[in-house]
Symmetry: C2
Subunit: 394 residues, 2 copies
């Protein structure tokens, strides 16, 4: 019997217990007859009706001091006390599995180092892309590649809102209300719609892909709150869909990382990723582009990823995922990276100032896509016309 | 230093050598400083110009008897002597990595058992989906799930031909010629266009997903040679694309496995998988649908998957993939499985005989999609009208 403890019995934590129960037979087969047993659940609330209600405790010390516990599942969310509990668990020689992207993005480097020192695992497949396998495939299956870029639609809430705007011509605030009524967006949707959630996730993927810590506070981050229906329809006329992307590209000297809405060509399969679905495209120097697609959130999909990590540890498959702090912060100034902008303008000078671009007419004037240049040079050039909106192009 | 031998120095085998050389620095980092060394290449040909030309031998005994060799990469293709060499390598205590779907589909059960007995690995990520990570994600990342179905566009050649037919209104034989001229299809394209290649791959995936050996010779297999431009345009009118699918669905008692062209709704992301790209959708009971997408063939993508398996073994991560022979063959009679058919007909009786279906007019008559029923019942009903073509609907 493999005894585990679940910290935080919310949506994901209770989903983990459900998957372990529901698939107990096939899980036991995969673990050569051993069974997974949820010995403790740490939560301030009580769950008297739940069949595991008698496992609920508020005493973390009891859990961390119990030698029976080989693995701790952290599904609390938020940085504190999740970070402190994780640290103590690792120091006590427990393996830790988490779905908490905030802790991994902010403290991953330290916790991975600590896990290595203590000869235990710290695994976090569920922290990015919900149930979509992405951490392990990047680390293990694409091990033969030098990874050149990672581009992801990483937040289901914002993708749902953008899909409503694009398919049903609904404006941002109306689409947000529907997302909230369906439980996809929280009452305070800032972390989603302002891009922070996407930013944390692309930082985790970039750290893993390139081997150096990428901190969310070093990454330029824009959300979708300023996208208008005029942007959506002009982008469509030019053959593009608008998606909130987390994007990391390896350069010779440093790394370009950004979170921002982008135009994605209809010819790119990511343009067809709709509703709450997520997709991550990884480009490796041998394999080319590989895309992973599925539900990026939700109780059982996320729990599925957590339990996969549990099974991995129980199979004693040592992973030793690692990334290190670079001597010099690897994130480049995003303004010096080369990009193209989609621009909407009502300024007749635009045609003369951007003579090599194809213009299309919109209800408020014109839209065009710039040639590629550094963001700072393009912004300088665009400062000479009245810009209604500008969005980067993938 | 980790010494390996490559059996067969064709497209994939030479790609493996190229990836090992090109990415030697990052591979060595991932292997804690150890280097991969190609000590032998088994091939009847000589490669005097190649920098590894001096490693080429025709003597398999020398390879299998060399205690330095810990791993053998089988990229010969074909069943024989690849199967015999693999068996001898495993019996000699060597790990074996392969891209050879024919050997895995036909002899996988025996070779996996033999590998377990000899405490070595037999890994085959490259046998399905080229560089797309699929074997390991299914086995490892989706371990928390009971897998309910696997559906794949598994053959790049046929998908290229179908894309040409759909996008450019080119007929089958013309599209095949272009595929041949681009090197996507062989002079004798039978294994691709008649579905055998897809069939082998879906058998490997189904065996892995459901834990029982699924043999290609038990699986109903249709190719794309009879798909016409009339099918393509009528399917389009109804909102579908035509794709050659390998499909395996777990039932209560047995398993439905088929290789055949299917109509795929434009709302399904698999409908947008074009050209030589492959995609595999796995449905797990916790995660829902997860799709993996990328180049399904080609020198470096396939080599990338082979080298990932090499790295995995070198990291001493014991996988012990396994499936067993079921007491009773698990594949059900495909005629008793429930399906829907897309039907083209010039028979005016069709409207009366299928009153609940929506008909659209085509240049030769009508097209419609049947209600769901067993294939045998539908074929019986369709025998009463003159059918121009019928294709299953996903």
């Amino acid at each position: 019997m493999i005894n585990i403890a679940i910290l935080g019995f919310g949506v994901v934590g209770s989903g983990v217990a459900e998957v372990i129960k529901e698939n107990s037979k096939s899980l036991s087969d995969k673990l050569q007859g051993q069974e997974l047993n949820v010995k403790y659940i740490l939560d301030k609330r009580t769950f008297p009706e739940h069949e595991l209600g008698d496992r609920v405790t508020t005493d973390f010390d009891m859990i961390v001091n119990d030698p029976d516990i080989v693995m701790i599942v952290e599904t609390m969310g938020g940085s504190h006390p999740a970070y402190e509990f994780t640290k103590r668990a690792i120091e006590a020689g427990k393996n830790v599995v988490t779905s908490n992207k905030e802790v991994v993005a902010n403290f991953g480097t330290e916790l991975l180092d600590l896990a290595r020192e203590n000869n235990v695992n710290y695994l976090f497949e569920a922290s990015v892309g919900g149930g979509i396998p992405i951490i392990r495939p990047m680390w293990q299956c694409l091990a033969a590649n030098e990874i050149e870029s990672v581009t992801g639609i990483l937040n289901g809430t914002t993708n749902f809102i953008l899909t409503k705007m694009i398919d049903e011509n609904m404006d941002f605030s109306e689409a947000l209300k529907i997302a909230q009524s369906l439980g996809y967006a929280e009452a305070n949707p800032a972390a989603d719609v302002e891009g922070l959630d996407t930013c944390r996730k692309i930082c985790i993927l970039a750290s893993l892909a390139f081997g150096n810590t990428i901190s969310p506070d070093k990454v330029h981050c824009e959300g979708i709150t300023e996208i208008t229906l005029s942007d959506v329809s002009a982008a469509d006329m030019l053959g593009y869909s608008i998606k909130l992307l987390g994007r990391a590209v390896k350069g010779d000297k440093n790394t370009y990382v950004i979170t921002a809405p982008h135009l994605v060509s209809y010819e790119n399969p990511m343009a067809g990723v709709n509703d709450v679905y997520n997709a991550i495209t990884v480009c490796g120097n041998a394999v080319g582009d590989v895309m992973f697609y599925g539900r990026g959130a939700g109780k059982l999909p996320t729990a599925s990823a957590v339990v996969a990590d549990i099974v991995d540890i129980a199979r004693e498959c040592k992973k030793a995922i690692t990334w290190t702090v670079a001597e010099k912060d690897p994130v480049c100034d995003y303004k010096e990276a080369k990009v193209r902008f989609f621009v909407r303008t009502d300024d007749k000078k635009a045609n003369d100032l951007f003579p090599n671009c194809v213009f299309c007419t919109t209800d408020e004037g014109y839209a065009f896509i710039t040639e590629e240049n550094t963001e700072s040079a393009l912004c300088e050039a665009l400062s000479k016309i009245n810009v209604l909106s500008k969005i980067r192009v993938l």
